[in-house]
Amino acid sequence: MLRVDIEKQLGEFTLAATFSSEGRVIGLFGASGAGKSSLVNMIAGLLRPDRGTIVIDGETVDDTAAGIHVPAWRRRIGYVFQDARLFPHLNVAQNLDYGRRMNGLPSDPAQHKRIIDLLDIGALQGRRPGKLSGGERQRVALGRALLSKPRLLLLDEPLGALDEGRKLEILPYLVRLRDEANVPMVYVSHDVAELRQLATQIVMLKEGRVTSFGGVKVLT
């Protein structure tokens, strides 16, 4: 599903990560500053590796030796950021529809309804992002990413900006996504409890290097 073998120099910091996974939810675990976000940005195509390869679902999206770099907009990935990043000039319905429009996909009412029900965001459709709570915003961001029909969903600390109560509000939705949405995910977090609930495989990152890789047991 996902194969990563890259190196990237970011100022003083060297990121050198190698792993390969077929897992449904790859948990990318590490302290802040371990290089998690940079690694996810590279998988997304927002950051270019200095050396190495990234393969998503059999397609080589980065191969520095062969001069391959597929831009983010052609990777068919979904990306949920810590800070939601909803488009402030569009309402919720327009935000949700954005990926479908940009990819020129035909409308798929059944899928649309399923995801909106799954995330409980039907009642928010006419609102502007400025009028949503943090938890609602994050649910809409999840819906927006999923509705672009990605082959891989990247989640960069999607609960990081929320307080405990809101986290508990969103976690069940993420569990449902994992079990029902049928999209493989890379889930970035520094929270062991979160990853225990969600991940099926763990990549542990420390100071820019993969220190362990395996089942959720490596977290103990």
Binding site: F87, P88, H89, Y98, M102
Partner: protein, 231 residues
């Protein structure tokens, strides 16, 4: 007292036409340049930035004279345009529009650039991850969010264009009905015996137009802020 004569109307309407055309033609160039300066680093960027601001600090008569040299009938570009496309600038209202567009360009570009710079790049990245090609990102995210700034720039540019004097009179002279704008009409009137009343009326008209434009620009700027916060 406030009876505007047909001759004064001619000058007012010509000024409006010149300023509207100048603003509309300058806007796409202004947006492109604002985006280039706000979102890209390239060799010669500060030089380009300086050139854009040049009309603001150069004596207007110099700009007008340079226009005459390049866009006059015998000028390098003016001669070519007149011979091939039949477009003549010298001593025509189109020349006044060119002079006004150039002189107001720095004011038009500035709010556009600031509003593009104020847009969080992360939103553009989010659009990219959702499958939007760079030009789609520009038209669906960058431009809509910058729109109030774009309009503010257009309003400011328009206000400046309507008041332009030095470059216009140097380039296209002061021909009633063809190139005599409000400013050059006032200039003629105050040199004419008994022209004071007419000049006074045109002065009031210019103040109203300028104030209206500034208030409109301010309103658009406030809308921009609200839009960026998603309210």
């Amino acid at each position: 007292m406030f009876e505007i004569s047909p001759a004064e109307w001619t000058a007012i309407l010509l000024s409006l036409r010149v300023a509207v055309v100048a603003t509309l033609v300058a806007t796409p160039f202004g947006i492109a340049l604002a985006w280039l300066l706000a979102r890209h680093d390239f060799w010669g960027k500060s030089f380009l930035d300086a050139v854009v601001h040049l009309p603001l600090v150069l004596p207007p008569v110099v700009t007008g004279y340079l226009l005459l040299l390049t866009f006059g009938r015998k000028g390098l570009i003016g001669g070519f345009l007149a011979d091939t496309l039949g477009i003549v600038f010298a001593f025509r209202w189109t020349g006044a529009a060119l002079a006004c567009g150039l002189m107001s360009f720095p004011l038009l570009v500035r709010p556009m650039r600031l509003s593009i710079e104020a847009i969080d790049r992360k939103l553009e990245q989010a659009a990219e991850t959702l499958g939007a090609a760079p030009w789609k990102v520009f038209f669906t995210v960058t431009l809509p969010l910058a729109l109030p700034g774009v309009l503010a720039g257009m309003v400011l540019g328009f206000a400046k264009a309507i008041g332009e004097f030095g470059a216009t009179i140097t380039f296209v002279s002061n021909i009633p009905g063809e190139t005599q704008t409000i400013s050059s009409a006032i200039y003629s009137l105050i040199q004419t015996p008994d022209g004071d009343a007419a000049a006074g009326r045109l002065v009031i008209v210019s103040i109203i137009l300028a104030l209206g434009a500034l208030i409109a620009a301010e309103w658009f700027a406030r809308r921009a802020t609200a839009r960026l916060h998603g309210n």
